[in-house]
Every structure is written in C-alpha cells, then in structure tokens.
Point group: C2
C-alpha cells in the first residue's frame, strides 16, 4: 500500500480516548506513559511507513491487568494495540485512530516446561531468545527464528516463521493453545494442552496471524523439540539462482529433513563477504543445516552434496563445530546490516513474498530484472525450502523518485507472487502495508475475514486499520 | 451426550424444506433422491446415535452444483449436510431439523498433481485411497490415514488424523488451501498454494474441523510426501501400558522421527491374535514404523530397540518386506473387527480422547479400571505418540443397563481427559455426540465459536445442531 494512501486515510481519532487515559492513569499510575518519545517508540519504527503514535502506553504486568485495560478501552471504544518488542515490518503497531499501546514486555515469565510432553507455557512478552536461554539445561529448544528477538506473543500474532520453518514449521504449527483477552474483556483459552484435538473450531489458528485484531494474546502453550545430537552447517555456491532452487526442490522431494536451506543471491554474497570479512564465492549460494544423529547428519549432507553437484553446485563446505556454525549463521542473520553497508546512508526496507517452490526461480529472476530495469538496489535472500524470499531495498529516503519506484516495485512483486499462485506475504503479515495486496490476492475471502472481525470485535477497538479496512 | 438427550432435543423441522425439495428436483432431476433407504444411508449409521435422516439427497457433480444447492437452501432456510463416505462417528451426518444431504462422492477428480511443489488439488469427494492410487507412479503419497477410506473433504471437515499423525501431522497440517461454498452461496478459496502465508486470518484452519457448519468444502490443495526409500515395521511387547508409554515418550524426546507408534493393550493383542491368526505375545505392545533411507531406518530401529529394552520391552520383531508389513498393519487396522469378534453379536462403539503424553499411562490405567468396575468390555488402542487413544466398547444393544453404563463411562472418560489438560476428542470430532463435553472442556471459548457461526451462517442452514447448540 502506498505511503501516501496510508497518510491520506481518513482515520478520525476516537472521542473516548481521553476518558480511557484518565481511567487507565487511575488504574496504572506511572505505568501509564504519555511522553512523546515513549509513544513514538511504541508505534511503527522499522520501515518508511509513517509513525502513528498512540495516545498513551500501558505497561501491563499480568493477565488481569490486560483484562482491565481492555475493559476500560471497551467501555470508551478506545483502540488498543498490543506491543511486544516492536520488530514488526508492516505497520502493525501504528495507532491511526489514536488509542492505547499495551506493552506486554513485562509479562516475561516462563510459567511451565513439560519435558515429557515437549511443550511449555509462557507469558506473551517472553522473547524467543529468553525462552531458549531458560531451556538451556533441559536439552530442549524452541525452533522458530524470525531473525529479530521478537516476543512470542508478537510472533504468534503475525504468524512468524524464519530460517528453520522448512523443518519445524511456523508459529501456526508450534502453538498448541493460546490464552487471550477478547474484545469484550473475557479471557479464553483456545484449546487444551493435548498435541491434537478435533474439539470445535480452531480458534488457536484463528488468533495466530490475526495481528491483534481479534484479541490480545497473553499466554501461549508452545511445542518444544530436543536439541539435535549433531548439527552440521554449510554453504554451497551455484552457477545460478535456478540451479540452487532446483537443488532445493530435489532435496525436499528426496525427503532429506533439512533443518535450514537459505538462498543468498550473488549480491547478498558480496555484501556478506564485505561485512563479515568472509571469503565465500560471490555466486548464488545455499546456506544449509542438518539436524540429527551423527550418522543421519552425515548421510543427509552426503546426499545433499550429490544433488547439488548434479546442478552444478560447488563443494559443500560444512562444519559441525559451534564456532564455525555461528560464524556462518551470523553472516546470514546480519544480512540486513550487510545489505545496507552496500550503500552507506541508505535505509533498508525489507519486503517478503512466498510462491510455490516450482515458481520460485521464475519469480526471483523476474524480480531481479525488475530491480535492474528500475535502477533499484535490492539484495535477495530466501527461505527457499518454503518458496519464501525477501528483497531488502536499499533506499535513499531523500529521493522521492526512489521511494515512488520502490512502492511501484513492491506492488509488482506482490502481484507477481499472486499470479504464480503465491501470497503477498509469507511471514511478515499484512499490517497497514499490504492491505491492498491482500484484497487482490484473496478477493471475497477477505469479506469473510471482515465478518469474523465484526462478530468478535463489534466496536472495532482491537488494532483497527490492520489487515483490512472495515 | 446421552442418547436420550439427542432424541429429546427440540429440533423442529424447517418449514421451507418442501419448497427446497421442489426447486432441487427441478434442478437435479433424478439426482435428487427421496427414497427412505438412501436418505437413511446418508444420515448417521456407525454408532448407537439415532439415525436422523434428511428429507432428500442431492448427488452433486460440480462446484457449480454445490453452489446451486446452497443457494436454494439459503433462500428457503433449509438445512444442508455435506456427505462424503458416511464414516463419521459422532452423528455429524444427521439432519435433526430435516433438510438436504449433499452427497459429494461424485466429485471425485484429482485435478492436479504438482510433484515439484509436493502438493495436489482434488475435489472433495476423492477418497484417500483413490488419491494414493492415483499417485502411485509419481513416487509421492498422502499420509493421513484415519482407518476408513474416507473422503478428503470429510477428513478436512472433521480434522481427521490417524496412525501416522505423529510424523506427518493431521489434516490441520496437510491442507494448504480450501475452496468452499459459504452459506450465502459465495465460493471462496481460503489461501493460495504457497507453503506458508501470513496473509490475513487463517480461514483454511477455521474450515478444517468445522464439521460442515460454516461452509461446504468442494476442493482441497493438499501436501504430499515422497514415498520413503525404506519402510520398516515391527511390534514390541511390554510388561505394562506404562512401560510402553514411557518408551514412546523417550522415543519422541530422543528425536527419532517415528512414522507410526501405536499402542494395543493386552486385550487388543488377544483379539488381534484370534482374529488375524497371529502368534504375538498377549501383552501391551507397540506397533512401530520407521521411514527413511536404509541407514536412517536401521539406526532409528536400533535406537528404539535400546529404549524399549530399558523399559522391559521384548525384542523388536521388524520387517521391511511389504507382505510382512501389510500383515502387521492389517492386524492393526482390523482391530475394530477383531474387537467385536471378542463378543459375538455385540456392536462396537468407538470413542476417542487425547491427553498430554505425560498423562497417558495414568489416563489409560484409570480407564481400564473404570471399565472393569462397570463390567464393560472395551479394548484400547492408541495413537500414543500424540497422546490419543480409542476405547471400542463392545455392547449388547438390547441391554439397556449396558447402554446406560457405556454412556456414563464415556462421560467420565471425557471428563478424565479434560482434567488432565486433554481434550474430549483427538480426531473423531464433536458432532452431536460430544457437544456437552465440548462445553465442559472449553467453557466461554465455545461462545466465541458460536459468534463466528452466527456471523458466517446467520440463517443457521449449515449442518445445524453440530458441535454446539446455538
């Protein structure tokens, strides 16, 4: 959605907000903050989508406090925007109609770990890194890794995934149950802790990805996994993106349970070399990781190596030594910083699409041509096992030609993905930025989303203006 | 829910049904059937829940015909019940308020197979066996196996799973997108064919498990898997259910990607021996299956064998020869018939619950004691990797004491599972039979399901009386 459309949107402030702030101050004292810096830091900060700050920020410390906040907001018809760590990319945290940002970061307790059941229960403000730190001595880990050290509540709300979704799935697959405060102030738990259930509508999956528009997630029951006995990571260069993608397709078809398989295009490899002082071949490359027993990992790597060789891939340089693995994945995870270092002074704006993997090489080829044709710089990295890739546009924010060109490019990228039976967002969510693309992608289906929204939040107080306009 | 409560339910027939039948006869000619045998065969037939036949059956042959049927039913406020193969167990197919059974079994075309994407597109009436027959030459398969040769539309509608959900997940995990005719006659596709998406509410997962109460599924995009290079199946006896369950817990914790791990209690083993003329030890046993490369399968079996031995398990008798594997799994799949052969003249009534696996041994022990205390015969088999088990009650349908005892037993079983943070149904669904248990399990959460139902089906024509009463 174009910047100017977001700015031009008619979004009158709700009249009840002032009354809500008075009630909330009574209830929360100094934990109700109205200073501009804090308010702005709780709205959108990560891309060029404008910052639309809330009227106040509440720092909640318990489910009961979340409920109290929602009740006050419900009475006054005041918008309420849940906040975890602020790492979302599509304007989810903005308050275009004013209202309250509900900061859940202090709800940071791991409430229970059940090693026999391979699950745990956490408050919504726990981040994925703090959960994994907590789990360190149990031999278990939580796999979903969207890059940022996001809160688990936020990751559920945006249906986050990341580098190892190809093996472990996304938040959709790893949330067993959610506890949420709904728009009328009632607290529900969507399911029990059983690994599977056929007991009624899947409200867990309805809340996962609902971007705070149906309820405030306060607690999550999450799946855990045993830390693999052996982890082997490596990098393998290819003559072209298509060769790399064909290798991915055959790897997955062969049933190799690859844990990560990430594509970096030639430009990304150059950026990684420069930034991380590496000496990798500046060709399209796959970063891979295998999890399992020593024998299984060796076999996976060997089979992968044979497949790669059939597609012109170079030798797989792989290591199971933690420091080597960390160096490799740090280079991958630092790609945002490496990319913007390609063009000092620029801003890096990340977008994402996802297509059936059979169309991935076409989609990336056409996208690279599009970038060239429009004089845009945008290294491409991808969670290619899932058909998902990112373009990080490196923009001079002072140059309106570039901004316009970037917006037009992103619209074409979304349309290209949808034309290939893909989606305008594989993992970033819709927020404000992709509402227009969502309509183009799903048509009438979005109407049924609106019907659910109106039924569950008739006053429209839950993160209004996100996913779709009512 | 007690039989008498279902029978006593006030469910007045809808006045518009007669007009709907007239319009449908005009539209469908001989494919609108009102004969009693056909009508009764399209309502509930598999347990002791009473048969509540629809007023007519429409045999649809296309999505457009489903849409036409729904539009006629919407105009006349006539209930509409989708029918696949009739294998559901909780009364999903009954028409307590009268109406139309919409038979989708003629919509049996596999529309597309995309080997590179590991997915396919099928009409809702395709059964899982016919899909796998269609796939035979592709090296791919669709794993979900609930036992019956159910239709894929029906399996999605009840969120079916079965023996290999521990490895491949349930219908929830294996439906990429659905096409459905909604209550207002509009056709929506819930998502694109990309493997993952963050594009708005997850209407795919909302329809999966909605039991025909929100829309009629007409088409499915499904995930496929490569047929494993090696499949090894075996059976291993244990001194007790608890030893077997502890073995399962450790197997899953260790990260062995077991494809199937099924528990049969001692009574089930006796039944299997008698029925299938086998000579297995009449002790609680695990039937297991490993999928992978030859080396990986050998390693999985070896590690499993060591874990089993630590828990008093006997030697794992395993084979990768197809005829041996078939013999073993046929014995498992024939357990329904083997069980009822234990008590000639009886009816077998299957129920299911699912608990966190740490509570599974407790739940089964208490359930076996409950059966003994109430003079009920009910062999137990379980998809124990998921904490899911079935009791097949062997009932003399002429003996009202037994029926009453069975109903009371099933209510206690559901309550026991819920008290252990489990669910009243892991895979059979709610239908009519478990509505009361659902309320006990999820409380207020069911209200939010009702709100969604009312929003999407304001006239209440989609399979009324299932999952919950409005």
């Amino acid at each position: 959605m174009a910047l100017k459309d977001i700015l031009a949107e008619k979004a009158p402030k709700r009249p009840g907000v002032a009354a809500a702030v008075v009630s909330l101050r009574e209830a929360f004292g100094e934990r109700l903050v109205t200073g501009e810096d804090v308010r702005r830091a709780h709205a959108h900060t990560t891309t060029y989508i404008p910052n639309q700050a809330p009227d106040a920020v509440v720092f909640a410390e318990s489910e009961a406090e979340v409920q109290k906040t929602v009740r006050i907001c419900a009475e006054t018809e005041t918008p309420i925007v849940a906040f975890g760590t602020g790492s979302s990319l599509e304007g989810h945290l903005n308050a275009p109609q004013g209202g309250i940002s509900l900061d859940l970061s202090r709800m940071d307790k791991v409430l229970a770990v059940h090693p026999e059941d391979l699950d745990c229960t956490v408050e919504a403000g726990v981040t994925r890194e703090s959960l994994n730190a907590h789990l360190r001595d149990t031999g278990l880990f939580f796999p979903i890794d969207p890059g940022a050290n996001a809160s688990l509540g936020g990751m559920a709300a945006t249906r986050a995934s990341g580098t190892n979704a190809v093996r472990y799935g996304t938040m959709r697959d790893n949330v067993i149950a959610l506890t949420a405060v709904m728009a009328d102030g009632r607290i529900i738990r969507t399911a029990r802790r059983a690994k599977k259930t056929s007991a009624g509508y899947d409200l867990t999956r309805l809340l996962v990805g609902s971007e705070g528009t149906l309820g405030i997630i306060t607690r999550l029951d999450l799946r855990l996994y045993g830390i693999p006995e052996r982890i082997l990571s490596g990098v393998c260069p290819f003559p072209s993106v298509r060769d790399a993608v064909d290798t991915v397709i055959q790897t997955v078809q062969t049933g190799i349970p690859v844990a990560r398989i990430e594509l970096l295009d030639a430009q990304s490899m150059q950026a990684a070399n420069a930034y991380a002082k590496l000496d990798l071949k500046p060709q399209p490359s796959l970063f891979v990781e295998f999890h399992g027993s020593p024998a299984s990992v060796a076999e996976q790597a060997e089979t992968f190596g044979m497949i790669a060789a059939e597609h012109g891939g170079g030798a797989l340089e792989a290591s199971s030594r933690p420091e080597e693995r960390s160096r490799l994945w740090k280079a991958r995870h630092d790609m945002y910083w490496a990319s913007i270092a390609l063009r000092p002074g620029c801003r890096g704006i990340a977008t994402d699409v996802c297509v059936p993997v059979s169309r991935l090489a076409d989609c990336i080829d056409e996208t690279q041509a599009d970038l060239r044709d429009n004089r845009l710089v945008g290294p491409i990295i991808g969670h290619v096992g899932d058909g998902n890739f990112h373009v990080t546009l490196l923009l001079d924010m002072e140059d309106s030609r570039e901004i316009d060109a970037a917006e037009a490019f992103m619209a074409r990228l979304a349309a290209r993905a949808v034309a290939m039976d893909g989606t305008c967002t594989g993992e970033h969510g819709v927020g404000q930025g992709k509402r227009g693309y969502l309509e183009a992608e799903l048509g009438d289906t979005v109407d049924f989303m609106r019907m659910i929204k109106r039924a569950l939040d008739p006053k429209g107080i839950m993160n209004p203006g996100k996913i779709f306009m009512l």
